[in-house]
Amino acid sequence: MAGKLLFKGREKDPPHLVSDSHQFVFSADIISTVEFNYSGELLATGDKGGRVVIFQHEQESKNRPHLRGEYNVYSTFQSHEPEFDYLKSLEIEEKINKIRWLPQQNAAHFLLSTNDKTIKLWKISERDKRAEGYNLKDEDGRLRDPFRITSLRVPVLMPMDLMVEASPRRIFANAHTYHINSISVNSDHETYLSADDLRINLWHLEITDRSFNIVDIKPANMEELTEVITAAECHPHQCNVFVYSSSKGTIRLCDMRAAALCDRHSKFFEEPEDPSSRSFFSEIISSISDVKFSHSGRYMMTRDYLSVKVWDLNMENRPVETYQVHEYLRSKLCSLYENDCIFDKFECCWNGSDSAIMTGSYNNFFRMFDRNTRRDITLEASRESSKPRATLKPRKVSTGGKRKKDEISVDSLDFNKKILHTAWHPKDNVIAVAATNNLYIFQDKIN
């Protein structure tokens, strides 16, 4: 199925999606998170410049039946501004680390966006009426003589062009000493958690002046620090369960029913290390960069540097499935360490039915794995290779000594082009792939 994806051209670029063919990329334009809402109708991206751009799925058009309708820019707003913490003499970047949509509650849409320190709740709403008619001025804005008012006019609402407004509703600040890496809305729809390097806090969506610290792994002496929290997520159905992953490659599952503080986990997922493959880099590459529950809530997926693992929540001692993302890099770890790429945090995502998973790689490649057939595919997100309506060609990286035709040698991979953030439509086969400052949207071909 993956081969049938095709590039969706966009009529107009949103302001911050500058073409990478110019080579020169403003760092503020680099996309830092991608997220579909619950219906898949909206897609939000956040970037290093603190902006959020929301795309809306247009209705299918009759004259182009082969297309499912495009995603066009719906709203753009500045979510976070750079700040300076005067007490600690620290700059706080405006980069959007995560976006999470809230389940829709009325005609408006709500999302949480966070940078390193501050989480904000945004409302995105439409307005299509405008009030008209004043008492003290004419239609053209000229003031009337206040002494000549003989009757009162009540304003009337007239239709106008659709306007989309984004307004900040709440600001959840001052609860994180370290950098926030995850936010996740609970299935009770009234709380959410936020995780930084050492702590996880639980918030009520309507209360901004306090949060509850539920996990704290900060050692009394910071010199004894051996592990940090890398990601955290709430269970999709069980309101009391959440997981968090660590830099040691382990995942802890906690039950909020048992105690107010969840420092003690109820389940601990860890795969015993294979002693034969142990190396200097073992610990770094086993660090988990992302953890995601399946939609069913039965499984969770973790991404480490070289692989994606699927865990059954009922089996703690090893994953049920392991997929190699770019095993050919194992021999390159030394140079990847030198250019810091080894610390890249790749994310991963499930498709709507949990039958396939997707994650990114280098050279603008991304990988998809079909869990049923165990087949996998490498695809490339780039302007050159994916014209609108063209079918994506599978890519291959040569691993042996001899390079076949159509294969790319490991040495010619571009490590500056990395796909860290991807998202899969909750129902359809539509995916969004962020490649540096470009957002690609691919969809299943409809024959």
Binding site: N135, M256, R257, A258
Partner: protein, 623 residues
């Protein structure tokens, strides 16, 4: 109502009378939120001027679509509309208010939605039974079957107001709608339904309470979401009060027992938190058999939050036990648990217990208190956590009544002294606030002997907040013990500080005089305090001098006019030509008699900021 005539008269009267209303209407859409809010709050004025007809046909349709505004504006609007019946033409037309309130009942902001529901409930009473079925009930149904959960949550609050006043067929429909919402897909709606379950049960006929409500209650109490289950505990109280005693055991108790042992600590916390209400609702017999063991378990719960909530209820629970064997139950079942809590590992639990434990003494009487409770009080007075000690000290009055304070004073004094010298200034601040209360309970003799020195020592604390609280404390003590006592014990010490080498202490004298002069009266102020203040006008530190000016302004009203003219005025005039600009400024302020806010400082006030800087430093060091 004569709205229409008012508007006609206004028109005939002359144009200018319409002007204020025209401004109000235009400002409904001003860019400034405050002006919009102001207009909304005067909506009745606008409606009155427009008359009932135009209010119905023009103003309300406009307001119906005004849902894009800021929350505070919408909140004000929702509140206004609840009082609008007469302005739209009386009960006959009250249904015109439903559309704007309906749209407000679907906004995402809970406070606005709740206010809209409150107003809808209010105006529902003004509907005739016919209108209720023709207009109001369909609105409730629309909300209940709305696409968005915001409207469905709002519907939950409206069933109980229309149910008693509609026909039996409509009643059946309402019950059906409520049932549907209790099993809604989204937890928010189930929470809203659970929180209104008790209220709805109250208006239902007893047979339906038994047939409908109990099954809904049981279902919500075993919901998969903790947040729903815990709300069922609240409903439990109302339902239990509605049912005859003989049905409680079979219909309510299984659910309550289950909640008290729920896997989620939040649910158990809720049970602990509502324990007194539950106890009253189920009556003495079930309390004895079921609630006593349940309460024991909550006091021993593995989660500290639950233990703290239960500890908070110890006194109330004991008070409400059936009198015939209250003492026996407390002594054999409750007290052992309480004893364990005194040495709990969690300080919140201990401090929750400390805030109520003294209340047990009145229930158990003198002998039991001395034998069993006193050791606990004394242990808590020595607790490592200052909050525990503070809570004991702040509740001394109950023990005082039963055994007299003397029994305690032996341990009390060291505890107070220790708190008074705690390294954390917030702790010191807290104990200062209890001083007037303690002084009242311990009496003037004990106070003079043991505590007076402490109170004076706080005046020279290195944290400004403590010095400030100490001056305020002195004022309260003088109010309690009288001017004569002040003259003998406090005033000489305060005035003595005027010669202190530290200028901060000299200023404290001035602050104390500001606070004490009124309570001490004219005599002491003129004869003893004024000379000292006047003498300090020659102080070498400018901060002291301008505080002299401020003090003179403050005590001026208490002095007689002779002293003001002959003594105060010359000094102020001298200060008004001081070399320091701040001294000049405050002296002039005092002369002109203007009152000015303390936070407003003259520009470029170097000296003054120096003072603030020092105090801020003080506090930062001690945070």
């Amino acid at each position: 109502l004569r709205g229409g005539e008012v508007s006609k008269m206004a028109g005939a009267d002359g144009d200018d009378s319409l002007y204020p209303i025209a401004v109000l209407i235009d400002e409904l859409r001003n860019e400034d939120v405050q002006l919009r809010l102001n207009s909304i709050k005067k909506l009745s004025t606008i409606a009155l001027a427009l008359g009932v007809e135009r209010t119905r046909t023009e103003l309300l349709p406009f307001l119906t679509d005004t849902i894009y505004d800021e929350d505070e504006v919408l909140l004000a609007l929702a509140e206004q509309l609840g009082n609008f019946t007469m302005l739209v033409g009386g009960p006959e037309y009250v249904h015109c208010l439903l559309p704007p309130l309906e749209s407000l009942a679907t906004v995402e902001e809970t406070v606005v939605r709740d206010k809209a529901v409150e107003s809808l409930r209010k105006i529902s009473q003004e509907h005739s039974p016919v209108d209720l079925e023709v207009h109001f009930e369909p609105l409730v149904k629309r909300l209940a079957s709305g696409d968005w959960f915001t409207s469905r949550t709002s519907a939950c609050g409206l069933f109980s107001v229309c149910y008693p006043r509609v026909s039996s067929t409509v009643k059946a429909e309402i019950r059906q709608h409520f049932r549907t919402l209790c099993s809604d897909d989204t937890p928010m709606v189930r929470r809203a339904a659970a929180s209104k379950l008790g209220e709805f049960a109250k208006v239902l006929e007893l047979e339906y309470v038994k047939s409908d409500i109990i099954s809904l209650f049981t279902a919500l109490a075993s919901d998969e979401q903790d947040s729903v289950r815990l709300l069922a505990v609240e409903a439990c109280v109302s339902i239990a009060t509605l049912l005859p005693q003989e049905d409680l055991e079979t219909l309510v108790m299984p659910t309550l027992r289950q909640a008290a042992e729920d896997k989620s600590w939040r649910v158990r916390y809720m049970v602990a938190d509502k324990f007194s209400e539950l106890q009253k609702a189920v009556g003495p017999e079930i309390t004895k058999n079921d609630l006593v063991p349940a309460f024991q378990n909550l006091l021993k719960d593995c989660e500290a939050e639950v233990r703290a909530a239960a500890a908070n209820k110890v006194k109330e629970f004991c008070e409400n036990l059936p009198e015939d064997n209250r003492e026996q139950i407390i002594m054999t079942h409750i007290l052992p648990c309480v004893k364990e809590l005194v040495s709990d590992t969690n300080q919140h639990v201990k401090s929750a217990l400390a805030s109520v434990i003294m209340g047990l003494s009145t229930i158990l009487g003198k002998d039991n208190t001395i034998e069993h409770l006193l050791p606990l009080f004394l242990a808590q007075l020595k607790d490592e956590c200052p909050e525990v000690r503070l809570n004991i000290i702040s509740n001394l009055d109950c023990v005082n009544e039963v055994i007299g304070i003397r029994q305690l004073s032996q341990s009390l004094l060291p505890a107070i002294v220790e708190l008074a010298e705690d390294a954390k200034w917030r702790v010191r601040l807290a104990i200062i606030e209890y001083m007037p209360l303690l002084a009242g309970q311990l009496g003037v003799e004990f106070f003079d002997e043991k505590l007076n020195t402490l109170c004076m020592a706080w005046l020279i604390d290195h944290v400004y907040a403590i010095r400030e609280a100490a001056t305020c404390n002195l004022m309260k003590l003088v109010e309690k013990f009288g001017a004569e006592w002040a003259q003998n014990t406090i005033v000489p010490k305060v005035l003595g500080m005027a010669n202190d080498p530290n200028y901060l202490h000299r200023m404290t004298t001035l602050f104390c005089i500001n606070a004490l002069s009124k309570a001490c009266g004219q005599e002491i102020t003129t004869k003893q305090m004024l000379p000292v203040v006047l003498k300090m006008s020659n102080d070498q530190v400018a901060n002291v001098r301008f505080n002299v000016a401020k003090s003179l302004q403050k005590i001026g009203p208490i002095l007689d006019s002779n002293a003001l003219q002959t003594e105060v005025k010359p000094v102020l005039e001298k200060l008004a030509s001081d070399t320091d600009m701040d001294v000049k400024y405050f002296a002039q302020e005092a002369i002109s008699g203007k009152s000015f806010p303390i936070t407003e400082y003259p520009p470029e006030s170097r000296q003054h900021f120096y003072k603030i800087f020092i105090d801020v430093q003080d506090q930062l060091v001690n945070v």
